[in-house]
């Protein structure tokens, strides 16, 4: 996306944070243009939340120079706070107040006039489909409702820069799409979005630029297209009845990656139905019977494997299991 603004929404150089011996952020550089969506992609524990907490003034960095919304974060945190809105991973709502009271509280803290407070609260209740629940205590809200109220509270002051820390984690697919739509509307309204996610698909859908964070370091940065080009494409896993057919198939398909224990082959493909059909036709013509077929599209694990040479924790077991099937 081209932008006419010269001052970036976020400019961070050599951002560092450690808790004791553990280096959570080990010198990362970030540059986010105004009016764009920046996606910070990474697994649990990679430092995404810490990055958001530092950029949103919640915690202090150990090192690095950071400018947010044109203000020096270390010298003028309150100017930064006046320009941002934050929706964290943990719902930042007051459960002993009603939904409407929560929004009015925010409006008061933004020092809006009485009439404007009412107007803004009602507007947001409507926008986030919370009108029926406006007078109910937030303690009785469902997870999805709390998330919507949380974001609505973030938007009360019309922030120009919005931080969303894993905005769709734990949401069902329908709520996730609704959240994406909201993000798109915010960007259309001129806001800058800094979001973190574990899902490549989400970054792909929303972000203009994506950075991949792994163990406190940025391992890649670019547009989603650039990122996807850098990772291996989709593949299928074929399982055979015995070592003999495995050998035959391996010879026929040009010796792809094989696993003799599980009698499987991992065959790269372009993910199309035509490609899959051609592969199966080829095996059929050679009278090689396939016991089982598993499709595999590129995901965050593949990005990680490609960029870092290792799976992220939790993904390893899953991927090995997949090959073993």
């Amino acid at each position: 996306m081209t932008t006419t603004h010269t001052i970036p929404a976020i400019a961070a150089v050599d951002l560092r944070k450690a808790y004791g011996e553990h280096r959570v952020l080990d010198g990362i550089d970030l540059r986010v243009g105004q009016g764009t969506v920046f996606g910070l992609l990474g697994p649990n524990g990679s430092g995404k939340t810490t990055t958001v907490q530092i950029l949103s003034t919640l915690i202090t960095a150990d090192g690095g120079t950071i400018h947010v919304a044109g203000h020096d974060l270390a010298r003028d945190p309150s100017a930064v706070r006046a320009s941002i809105g934050v929706t964290g991973q943990f719902s930042a709502v007051d459960t002993l107040l009603t939904g409407e009271e929560n929004l009015l509280l925010m409006a008061k803290l933004h020092h809006l006039g009485r009439a404007e407070r009412r107007h803004r609260a009602t507007e947001l209740l409507e926008q986030f489909d919370l009108v029926d629940a406006r007078d109910k205590l937030v303690a009785t809200y469902s997870g999805g409702m709390k998330r919507r109220l949380d974001l609505a509270m973030t938007l009360v002051g019309n922030p120009r820069l919005i931080f969303l820390d894993e905005p769709t984690a734990g949401l069902d697919p329908r709520s996730r799409r609704a959240m994406w739509q909201i993000v798109r509307e915010l960007v259309a309204g001129g806001a800058t979005i800094f979001l973190t996610t574990q899902y490549l698909e989400e970054a792909d859908e929303l972000a203009d630029r994506v950075a991949v964070l792994d163990r406190g370091k940025l391992v890649a940065e670019g547009t989603p297209e650039e990122l996807k080009r850098s990772i291996p494409g989709s593949h299928v896993i074929l399982r055979f009845a015995n070592a003999h057919t495995l050998d035959m198939a391996a010879g026929l398909l040009g010796q792809p990656k094989r696993n003799d224990e599980t009698l499987t082959l991992q065959v790269p493909g372009d993910g199309s139905v035509r490609g899959l059909k051609e592969l199966l036709d080829k095996l059929e013509r050679a009278s090689i019977e396939v016991e089982e077929l598993t499709g595999h599209s590129p995901n965050l694990d593949d990005v990680f494997l490609a960029l870092t040479g290792h799976y992220h924790d939790g993904a390893r077991a899953e991927s090995e299991e997949e090959l073993a099937r």
């Binding site: 006046a82 964290g88 459960t95 107040l97 205590l137």
Partner: protein, 264 residues
Amino acid sequence: MTTLTHAVSDSLTMLQRNLKHMLRNPSVTILTIGMPILFLLMFVYVFGDTLGNGLGGPTGGRDEYIEFVTPGIIMMAVAAVTQGTALSVAMDMSEGVIARFRTMAIARVSVLTGHVIGAIFQTILAVAAVFGVAVLIGFHANADAAGWLALAGLIVLLALALTWLAVALGLVSGSADTASTLLVPLMFLPLLGSGFVPTESMPSGLRWFAENQPFTPIINTIRGLLLGRDVGNDSILAVAWCLGIALASYLWAKRLYNRDPSPR
């Protein structure tokens, strides 16, 4: 100037939030007001007759003891409210909404001042309730207008000091359980001072502690003002202790709140 007006209006907004919390979860408030009243009734009706005779006053017995113990119970009522305050601060800090407040351009300390002002309201309510019950069971105040004014001032100052201490302890505790435990000594200090029996009646080591701990001059001042006696040196000590505790606790609490929240 705008910074100051914002600090005031933000604190009032936070106060409103805390008052709503109190109204929706009144059990803590009721408990903190009810407990000192229970102590008052117990000490007057169970121990009062015997203890009153031991005071060596002109009338002796229960009537004598009501006059003596009411100031101690008032002190206890102020301390009891702080327990609820520490609890609600500790609980509040575990709520996600505090993280939101920290990233907003509001007067930082307003989250805490909201708690403090709310607690002072509660203290006034609690002290008024204790005093009301004391009068009903036979307490006679003998203060003039200046005495009442001084008394009100001292109670508010005392509440300010102990509440800031409670806020700091609530912040440092990290959990609601720890917070309420940390405040228990505050409830017992009136017992180990001039609250329930004269310090002269205690064994020497304990007597030294009782006479030198901060609550003793405060209780003596409350007692003197209520009964219209000369408060002299005690009142200076009482005010000095309150100001000292208030200032140190305020600075401590502010520092605790401004440090980075622990990672979760």
